[in-house]
């Protein structure tokens, strides 16, 4: 990445950190600073708006359902390219913000090989080489980069169809839809992973923090990098601590029971 882009990104992070705050409490780690969160949600909002307006035009079955939400078909059509353009602009900044941790490594290739174990929850702990982002997140990121580029190019061709050859417009229209489907597939998985499938993830984009447990479970290499501690050792220690707590609780309960028993037997 070019130096001015990096410089801008760092400056923006600093500015946003001054405006907004991220409270990191004991047992938590800072995952996403304010600037990253702002970019993510700006991209998300305009993605959803583009998706909704686009799907109205995409499918005759959805047209009557979605178009009224945006003030009718004509307005839906008028808004869609602008929603898309704003999405592209925000995503460009997000790209600059995230491209470094998103670079593909051999660890991600190995992550992909264990996709089945990942998806069926067989691997309860992620492999120790999984860093800030795992292979799946990186795939989704690069899928957005690809479809974002396709969206931009084909979208402009469809938008300015009066200056473009007819057959180019016809092809653009199909490619535009295909990028939409690619993005939608990733989007569905993304929302699921970020909410229901991995509790504790959604808050990282809202308040910016995650728990230590979450970090050593899902991103061990990142945990090691930010805390300097071994993720597996931390996990084992927590497990021992949990077992100890359980034992202590049980003995306390037994003690309570034995103390209460005589009272119960009073006729």
């Amino acid at each position: 990445m070019s130096a001015p882009a990096k410089g801008f990104d760092e400056k923006a992070r600093g500015e946003f950190a001054r405006i907004g705050t991220t409270r990191v409490r004991r047992g938590e780690l800072l995952r996403h600073p304010v600037y990253t969160r702002f970019l993510h949600w700006s991209v998300a909002i305009f993605f959803i708006l583009s998706l909704a307006t686009g799907f109205a035009i995409y499918s005759p079955w959805l047209f009557r359902w979605i178009a009224p939400l945006f003030g009718g078909g004509a307005r839906t059509r008028a808004l869609h390219p602008w929603f898309g353009l704003v999405f592209e602009v925000f995503f460009l900044f997000q790209f600059i913000n995230w491209v470094t941790p998103m670079l593909w490594t051999s660890a991600d290739r190995r992550w992909l090989k264990r996709l089945k174990q990942y998806a069926t929850n067989e691997d309860r702990l992620e492999s120790e080489e999984v860093g800030f982002f795992n292979g799946g997140q990186k795939l989704y990121f690069w899928a957005i980069v690809l479809s974002g580029l396709l969206f931009l190019i084909t979208g402009l061709l469809i938008w300015f169809d009066n200056v473009v050859e007819r057959w180019i417009v016809a092809i653009s229209y199909v490619v535009h839809d295909l990028s939409g489907l690619l993005m939608l597939a990733g989007f569905i998985i993304h929302i699921y992973e970020g909410t229901a499938h991995q509790p504790g993830t959604f808050r990282s984009m809202m308040s910016g923090t995650v728990t230590d447990r979450w970090a050593w479970t899902h991103h061990p290499a990142w945990y090691r990098a930010v805390t300097g501690r071994d993720p597996r050792e931390a996990y084992e220690r927590e497990k021992r601590r949990q077992a100890e707590r359980e034992r202590a609780m049980k003995s306390w309960e037994r003690e309570q029971d034995s103390r209460e028993l005589p009272d119960d037997r009073v006729p």
Binding site: S59, N121, R166
Partner: protein
Amino acid sequence: MANPRTFQIQEISAHPGPVPGQGTRREEEVCKYIDVTTCIGCKACEVACVEWNDHPFRETTFDDTYQTMPSTEWNYWNLIRFAEDERDGNLMWLMRKDQCMHCEDPGCLRACPADGAIIKYENGIVDFQQENCIGCGYCISGCPFDIPKFNEKTKKVYKCTLCSDRVGQGLEPACIKACPTGCLHFGTKSDMVQIASSRAKQLREQSGFANAGVYDPASIKGTHVIYVLHDIKSPERYGLPANPIIPPSYTVWKWLAKPTGLAMAILGIGAVFFHSVFYGPKLPQPEPPEIETGPREEIDAGRKEAP
């Protein structure tokens, strides 16, 4: 209005002798037939079109030809195209009235994503309903004849209506009424095809145009505007495509791939939902230990009753 075809009497009870109307069939499909060989390029049809449709006078473009402007416009639906061609070493001045062809399989309609913005009547007229038009311009790229035109101000697309308002009242289109040479005809599709065919035969046999023929392209299942051309082998000389087609992206993609894509999206949402039902969440580790005694299914919610 009752459809006259529905009320054509075919049988009458206890009626002696033949039934009036028996065996008759009202043909609904209309057609405009343009004989380019007798067109003199007077542009009366252009004026009639502008007048009937109440279009304002618009700027013309002079480009060293007689043509009013390079192509039809959103408020100029009828245009005589002038082409200078050659025949046996002599100049041949071709004049063709250009307007919407009212295709039997309309590319504009196939491409349109807005419910009810383009309709085709039973009589074959393809009409734009501007109140439903969303101005996406897909019809423009779907049309093989480059007819629909965008109005930047209203953000709607317009084209020739074949004077559907006049035809609905039993009148012929305005251009037909204005033609002084009789090169424009209007009637049922079969009648027009018949007249056009006999005119083409006459040209072939008596006027020395061996390749004269009727332009009614089968690639879009025929049109409701047909031409008689001096040379049917090369319609490109008149600015007409020899084999007009709708881009497959508007036919295959829209009617096959789009529903498939939609189904996949719905299945995708269903898949993640049932993934959650089957596998549950992935909790930060260590999570509370699982119960380790007995077969799990039986423990589950005590579903199995004691014998």
